[in-house]
């Protein structure tokens, strides 16, 4: 549905995006993951045709991206704005009309989505009266008001409280169930883990890993061990067979250099700490992300 081929973009002395290629199929939820300043927003803005790539090509449904395609794409930018003096309906309608929809179509969609987020009573109120959470819901509705086939969300969860974040995640899942394709960027791995079918990890403008979440996790093999214990586990990090350790308050995620050395690892620790739980696990996206970025550095 959307394909980028060897896309590059530079700003003065900074290479914001370098040779990025990926393909998003219809109905996927595709996450562009990366730390701040990695090039996520630049990539998204190029898909939205807000900025032009220096070279490389972007395809929409197999053909080169053209101006009229933006009517099939919904976009929620990272920097979200609102016209403070407009009413909720006027604000959403204006952008809906710019996406080629009639007032009648827009009215129906507004009705539906305000009901979904349970904010119908705010319909004719000025946007300056809205709370931050409510403004973000209105901005999300504005992005999807024209019922687009593809929805691109740049850091959609940033600044949201947990309840609003859950509601937004449910909305994304609902849109996926209706066959919509969703591309979103984030640096919050837990959110991506829960909803993405495919991801691309990007750092310093370069794509590091790209593909389905299951394939990527499998490629990391059986080297991960989740360990809950009592006692001083500080020695674990320095063990010969251990590659890296992610420390959580009550447990550790240990990455072994080789999955075959799991028994050897268990023998090493069993007499030095009191083990509550020992489990071989697939790595979390967070782990994959941290490992990938770490290797890059």
């Amino acid at each position: 549905m959307i394909e980028l081929k060897r896309v590059n973009k530079s700003y003065e002395n900074v290479e914001a995006v370098q040779n990025i290629s990926f393909k998003v199929q219809s109905g996927e939820i595709f996450g562009i993951l990366g730390p701040n300043g990695a090039g996520k927003s630049t990539t998204i803005k190029m898909i939205m045709d807000i900025i032009k790539p220096d070279n490389g090509e972007i395809f929409f449904n197999g053909a080169k991206l053209k101006e009229s395609d933006n009517e099939h794409i919904g976009y929620l930018p990272e920097e979200r704005g609102i016209y403070k003096k407009s009413t909720v309906t006027d604000f959403i309608s204006y952008f809906g009309m710019l996406k080629g929809k009639t007032m009648h179509q827009i009215e129906l969609e507004i009705e539906k989505w305000l009901a979904y987020f349970d904010i119908q009573e705010w319909r004719y109120r000025k946007t300056e009266e809205l709370s931050k959470g409510m403004s973000q819901k209105i901005q999300f509705i504005t992005a999807i008001i024209h019922d687009p086939d593809i929805i691109i969300l740049d850091e959609p969860f940033s600044g949201l409280d947990p309840i609003s974040a859950d509601k937004l995640r449910d909305a994304i899942v609902l849109l996926k169930s209706k066959g919509k394709t969703i591309i979103f960027s984030t640096h919050v791995m837990e959110q991506a883990e829960k909803i993405c079918s495919h991801i691309m990890i990007i750092n310093k403008g370069k794509s590091i890993i790209s593909g389905s979440v299951a394939d990527i996790k499998n490629s990391f093999g059986d080297r991960m061990i989740s360990l809950e214990f009592d006692g001083d586990g500080s020695f674990i990090e320095s063990l010969d067979m251990v590659d890296s350790v992610i420390k959580y308050p009550r447990y550790l995620e240990v990455e072994l250099k080789d999955g075959d050395r799991a028994d050897e690892f268990l023998k090493e620790i069993v007499n030095r700490i009191s083990i509550k739980k020992y489990e071989r696990i697939v790595p979390s996206l967070h782990k994959i992300f941290v490992s990938s970025i770490g290797e890059e550095k």
Binding site: I50, I51, N70, E71, R80, G81, L98, K99
Partner: protein, 409 residues
Amino acid sequence: MKKVFIIFKHEFKEITKGKMFLIMTFLGPLLFGAITILPSYLAMKSFKTESNSSIAVLVNDTNIFNYANEMLQTKELSLVRVETEDEGKDLVIKEKAKGYISIPDNIMEKKSINYFSSTGTDFQYSNEVEKVLRDYIYGIKIKTLGLSSKDSKWLSDSLEIKSMKLTDSGDVDDSDYESVLFISMAMSILIMMTVIIYGISTGRSVLSEKTNKTIEILLSSVKPFQILLGKVLGSGAAGLLQFTVWISMAVAVLKLVIPVMKIDIPDSILVPSNLVIIVIYFILGFFFYLFIYAAIGANVENEQNLGQVQIPMQLLIMAPIMMSSALISNPNGIISKVFSYLPFTSPTVMNTRVLIDSPGILMVIVSMLILLASLVIVLFGSAKIFRVGILTKGQKVNLVQLLKYLVEK
């Protein structure tokens, strides 16, 4: 084009729906009148003498005193005869008299005498006294020469020079051209006001898309050029609507005022051809500046920055008004001609020239074509600057930088 129209409609609605627009549309002319007509009216009013005022006079000759007192009483002024200079000055200091004058015995030989007042600038009183004394002296001189009243009248007749306008076709127009000057100046100020108000409003509207962070949502649906066009046309339409209301009100007021004040406006100036020329110049000049302001708005970071960068623009718009005396006194001079061709000044200068002078159809066409070509250049130049600026953040832009963007690829 449909998207341009949607932005146009939105912009027009945003400007016209506010209370401020209504207030400015209907109270603007009053405000305009207040700042232009009121000061001159007050100045004129203050030039009249206050009734029942008195002036202290030290004079030995009772004839002079009686004559002067009688004459001044027709102006509701009276003379108070004092015995000493100190007494006269004291009355002035205590504000019991508007002024003090000492008339010497040898007044017939004197070239000047002093008049004392607490301000030194209330000429309306000294002028009245001067007139009366002159008449008195003139009467004495006539009597001394033994002239009849008929001869004296003949002697006092003076020559008046009357300005007439000779048109290109050789016709002579003897109308009152002071009123034409007034109309052309008022028109220029009105154009200047509309351009500045709507120029800043357009710049601010573009800037607000950046500060509101809505520009990216807009750009995901429309091209920068469409945003520029929609915003400038929307804002421009609101400006034209307001200008039309102002002109209509001005015409209505003039229709009421002309018969009352017996102002003689020459028939030759408010002819359709002149009005068409003025309207074309206004529309071209208006949009010429609006596109520049929009490009500036896209390239500044905040209102303060906008205020600074647009100052040179404002000076260019105001230049013809600041130089109006040179332009009016010599409408065919070199300054006037240069300003007539410059797109920055031609909209205001040419409307004045069309009314008070006959610049010739060739000059009007050439100047109009230059303005039109400049508008097209500004349109595409602004689009270029707009595109670069609208996505630029955290940079303070100056005019030099804007020009740099223009020449960049």
